[in-house]
């Protein structure tokens, strides 16, 4: 008996797992709820509306998102006859889970006791994990057996090819500058935040993340005026909610990564010993930075329309990709000059 409890405890306290559960699931849920609320409120303000309001006007409609969540959870999930059932059900679930997986491998503190994995190649692992989930959106579109879904899925595929390289290159430029794949070292090396040293790479990463998470002006795969809801056209209920949430989860994962790489991670705090000072406070700082980043992401919705697919791709390859290359070059130069 005791053995089983020990086993369960050891699984729960296995660092990647609790980080995934604590920051990845619980944290992400809270942050995502807050961010969706913020996005709706901020957009509403720019658009001279109230936004969510009637569920608790005193909290400015914050519980609206919880209500939406409950609604999604209890709505009937309709699985059309013509879909590929297994894939149709699995795709959004897997996509959501995979999209927060990068959180399981990033360090949120410099205290080795609380690292989820050995940190030597954590940057590469995290970046590699960010690239897994998009394929399942294409799968969702394909499994739906609906023309709009397939067009949406194909668009997603186009967009993926465009942003992935940019995201990876611009985030990796920090590795080049520090000459290490160790995220902790990258964070610790930032006496000046890396965003100030290499704004070009940051801008490229920013745009790439917008593309990756269907933010405006790159909200192309789900562009409702041609393809209804893109890959999610046939979805309903919880599965639809998952699909929608997955984009935000992914944005959260990317934001955490960007907060570590560009915004100095847990600085100005120096993690100490013990769970509070060694893990909770630094991770809160990182999450807070990521949240601020996400708030900036969500402002684009109210200012821009969407690009056409080819224009987005052209912009990505002609403008943002050279920017990422330039950022990488700048990082190498900085490494050569020993700035960081």
């Amino acid at each position: 008996m005791a053995g089983i409890i020990d086993l369960i405890l050891s699984i729960i306290f296995y660092p990647p797992i609790y980080q995934l559960v604590l920051v990845g699931l619980t944290g992400a849920l809270v942050v995502v709820i807050f961010i969706i609320w913020f996005e709706r409120k901020a957009t509403a303000r720019v658009q001279r509306r109230l936004g969510p309001y009637h569920i608790s006007p005193r909290l400015a409609g914050l519980p609206q998102l919880v209500a939406d969540l409950i609604r999604y959870a209890f709505q009937e999930v309709i699985i059309p006859k013509t879909v590929d059932k297994e894939l149709f059900v699995l795709a959004p679930i897997v996509a959501t889970v995979l999209s927060i997986l990068p959180i399981a491998v990033v360090p949120l503190t410099s205290n080795p006791a609380y690292w989820p994995i050995p940190m030597d190649y954590s940057m590469l692992v995290a970046l590699a994990l960010t690239t897994v989930s998009p394929i399942f959106l294409i799968v969702a579109g394909w499994a739906s057996n609906n023309k709009f879904s397939i067009i949406g899925g194909v668009r997603e595929a186009f967009v993926i090819t465009a942003y992935e390289l940019i995201a990876i290159m611009s985030i990796l430029s920090a590795s080049a500058a520090v000459l290490s794949f160790n995220l902790v070292e990258i964070v610790e090396a930032q006496r000046v935040w890396y965003i100030l040293l290499n704004p070009i790479a940051f801008l490229a990463a920013f745009l790439a993340v917008l593309m990756a998470t269907s933010g405006f002006p790159f909200e192309i795969p789900e562009s409702e005026n041609e393809v209804v809801a893109g890959p999610f056209t046939e979805y309903s209920g919880l599965l639809y909610g998952l699909n929608m949430g997955a984009a935000y989860m992914k944005r959260f994962a990317f934001s955490i990564l960007m907060a570590l790489v560009f915004l100095g991670g847990w600085s100005p705090y120096t993690p100490g010993e013990g769970i509070l000072s060694g893990y909770l406070i630094p991770s809160l700082i990182v999450v807070a930075k990521a949240t601020v980043l996400m708030m900036i992401f969500s402002l684009t919705r109210s200012i821009y329309g969407r690009f056409r697919l080819d224009q987005a791709l052209e912009g990505a390859w002609r403008l943002v990709f050279p920017m990422a290359v330039l950022g990488f070059g700048l990082a190498l130069l900085e490494a050569y000059l020993g700035v960081m």
């Binding site: 901020a42 303000r45 720019v46 109230l50 309001y53 402002l299 200012i303």
Partner: protein, 183 residues
């Protein structure tokens, strides 16, 4: 001074920083409204608009003025107004007499106001509200008894009356109805 056609050109977008300026302008405007949204949302039903007296709202009959002429029913474009026959006591002779009375069917009425405008004695008048909910269609077909008194206005019981005033800065501003009336 008749109109004249003027050929115009699209504003040019040249120069290295044209795109940059466009982006900055758009973002600045967006942030300006993020800080000061200048919104005028009506929080219905906690607030409701107190409409001007000229508003074409629900139509009510003043039975004392009606001369049973049927003009209103004849002009109604939606066939919402119709005349019904009633046996009534003639006040002079004391004998029962057939009389025509208009009744209105709000399932059909489009609030065009023709009937009010055509009534030769101003027996029909509009009330300045429009937001009444019925539980079923049959209730919307008013009987003469309902037609002769203004309908209940449930929002007015709970909500705060507000008015919208055209404003140079904000487009419309929402003010308490009492404040407007004081002026």
């Amino acid at each position: 001074m008749p109109a004249k056609p003027v050929v115009k050109r699209l504003p040019a977008r040249r120069g290295l920083f044209a795109g940059f300026k466009g982006n900055v302008d758009a973002i600045t405007i967006g942030l300006k409204y993020l800080v000061d949204p200048k919104r005028f949302t009506l929080i219905y039903p906690n607030e409701y608009i107190k409409l001007d007296p000229g508003y074409r709202g629900f139509i009510v009959l003043d039975p004392k003025k009606c001369i049973h002429c049927s003009s209103c029913a004849r002009i109604c474009p939606a066939a919402a107004m119709r005349m019904i026959k009633r046996m009534e006591e003639d006040p002079k002779t004391g004998k029962p007499k057939m009389k025509l009375w208009p009744v209105i069917n709000y399932q059909r009425c489009i609030f065009c106001g023709y009937c009010v405008d055509v009534c030769p004695t101003e027996a029909l008048y509009t009330v300045p509200y429009h937001d009444i909910v019925y539980e079923n269609m049959a209730e919307m077909d008013w009987s003469l008894e309902t037609f002769v008194k203004p309908p209940e206005h449930p929002t007015a019981k709970e909500g705060i009356p507000v008015k919208y005033i055209v404003d140079e800065e904000k487009g419309l501003v929402k003010v308490r109805a009492e404040e407007v009336e004081e002026k």
